[in-house]
């Protein structure tokens, strides 16, 4: 790892101010992505601003039909949260499937979303549930937040503070994990909103990161059942192809994970 300067921020304002002082600063949350990348010398921030101990960045609130998860809340705490398990069990379940226990003890939702790995789990939930990403400056709807591989609507120095999820009528997540990394070879999140709309998002599948899956949405709108997807075909064009799976293989996985997600949602 190249040299860097470590700062522990005491508040959101302090973090933003410290970030501005460095020549090439980065926020540090759980460090489960940033530190491996720094160890490989693929990133060399002049300053890392630790946001994970800021009180206003940690915790889960449920009010009415909204679950708000603050950005530095760990995957483990989301998975274990009674409030999340009750309001959006699929979200708690998703968090419990990220990486391994040690990764879940440190990794956070804000770090995962800012990183926007094309195979990460949370982006699928954020897009399918139509969540809103809150930053120190503004509120960004999921549709406008994800901008392709490892890229988001965040500006330099803009910090995610929380994510607000509308509570759905039903939701489910199913993932086919890469057996080595545990990331999603393909993961599909299905949601039926309280107003009866159906939203489906797939991660790990597309060359441009997390995506909505229109054919599955249409089929489930007509009939919310795993069997409704039997006749659906997912086009393979634009899907990822690598040593782990071809584009055709992933296209089929989108359908099969979609069916499993509907079954999980009930």
């Amino acid at each position: 790892m190249y040299e860097t300067n470590y700062h522990r921020a005491s508040s959101i304002d302090d973090a933003v101010a410290q970030f501005a002082k460095g020549t090439d600063s980065k926020f540090l949350s759980g460090g489960q992505t940033l530190l491996p990348v720094m160890k490989q010398r693929l990133a060399a921030p002049s300053d890392v601003i630790d946001v994970a101990k800021i009180k206003d960045m940690i915790g889960i609130e449920v009010s009415g039909d909204t679950v708000t998860i603050k950005a530095a809340t760990t995957h483990y705490d989301v998975a274990q949260s009674d409030a999340v398990q009750k309001a959006i069990p699929a979200l708690a379940n998703l968090a419990s499937m990220i990486g391994d226990p040690a990764v879940r003890h440190r990794g956070t939702i804000g770090g995962s979303l800012a990183n926007n790995d094309p195979a990460a789990d949370y982006p699928a939930a954020v897009l399918a549930l139509g969540a809103v990403v809150k930053t120190n400056k503004r509120s960004i709807p999921a549709e406008d937040f994800f901008k392709g591989l490892f890229s988001t609507a965040l500006e330099d120095g803009e910090m995610i503070t929380a994510v607000s999820f509308p509570v759905p009528a039903k939701a489910g997540y199913a993932k086919f994990p890469n057996p080595a990394s545990r990331f999603a070879l393909t993961g599909v999140f299905v949601a039926k909103t309280k107003s009866g709309d159906v939203r489906v998002a797939a991660t790990g599948a597309s060359q441009s990161g997390v995506m909505r899956v229109a054919p599955i949405e249409q089929a489930l709108k007509a009939n919310w059942a795993a069997s409704a997807l039997d006749s659906v075909t997912i086009p393979a064009s634009g899907l990822l192809a690598d040593i782990h799976g071809s584009a055709d293989y992933r296209a089929n996985l989108v359908k099969v994970m979609g069916q499993r997600a509907v079954t999980a949602a009930g």
Binding site: Y6, R8, G99, A102, V103, H105
Partner: protein
């Protein structure tokens, strides 16, 4: 350079390190606690697992500065004098190790698993929760046996307290 103050195995320590220092290097190089191992550079093998404020974490994926003010337990902090921790004893009794390189991380992860699941632990859960710990020797079979054995010993010990 920064001064990092933390508690390691119950002892308050204060160490001057470069800001880029990883917790595992502070433990091994500044405190000579070489039981914690480094087995990879991709945060995947779990040889470096220690407990920070009661939770199992990969000490190769945490800056020393992030651990400032925290309570860290390493493999050296488990035994009570000459008396092995029940997890250590169970690994010995069940031949849960061969070369031993992965063992400190396995044991720290396993103790964390038992703490979180208590008496409800079964083989499937142990195998699933050890996903972040890689062993190149044993084939995992005896490791899983050891963890389940230790879980029942720890339950008995807890009931006796």
């Amino acid at each position: 350079m920064s001064t990092v103050k933390l508690t390691v195995n119950g002892k308050a320590v204060s160490v001057d390190v470069e800001d880029r220092t990883l917790l595992v290097h502070l433990l091994r190089e500044n405190l000579n606690l070489t039981g914690t191992h480094v087995g990879c550079d991709t945060s995947q093998c779990g040889a470096c697992v220690v407990h920070v404020d009661g939770r199992a974490v990969k000490s190769c994926t945490m800056l020393a500065g992030q651990a400032a003010g925290s309570n860290v337990t390493t493999i050296e902090g488990l035994a009570k004098g000459d008396e092995l921790h029940p997890m250590q004893a169970a690994f010995r009794d069940n031949h849960g190790l061969q070369c031993g390189y992965c063992t400190p991380g396995m044991i720290m992860s396993a103790v964390d698993i038992v703490h979180r699941h208590g008496g409800k632990l079964d083989e499937e859960t142990v195998r699933h929760e050890l996903e972040g710990n890689i062993c190149r020797c044993t084939g995992y079979h005896n490791i899983v046996k050891a963890v389940l054995d230790a879980a029942s010993r720890m339950k008995v010990a807890q009931a006796a307290e």
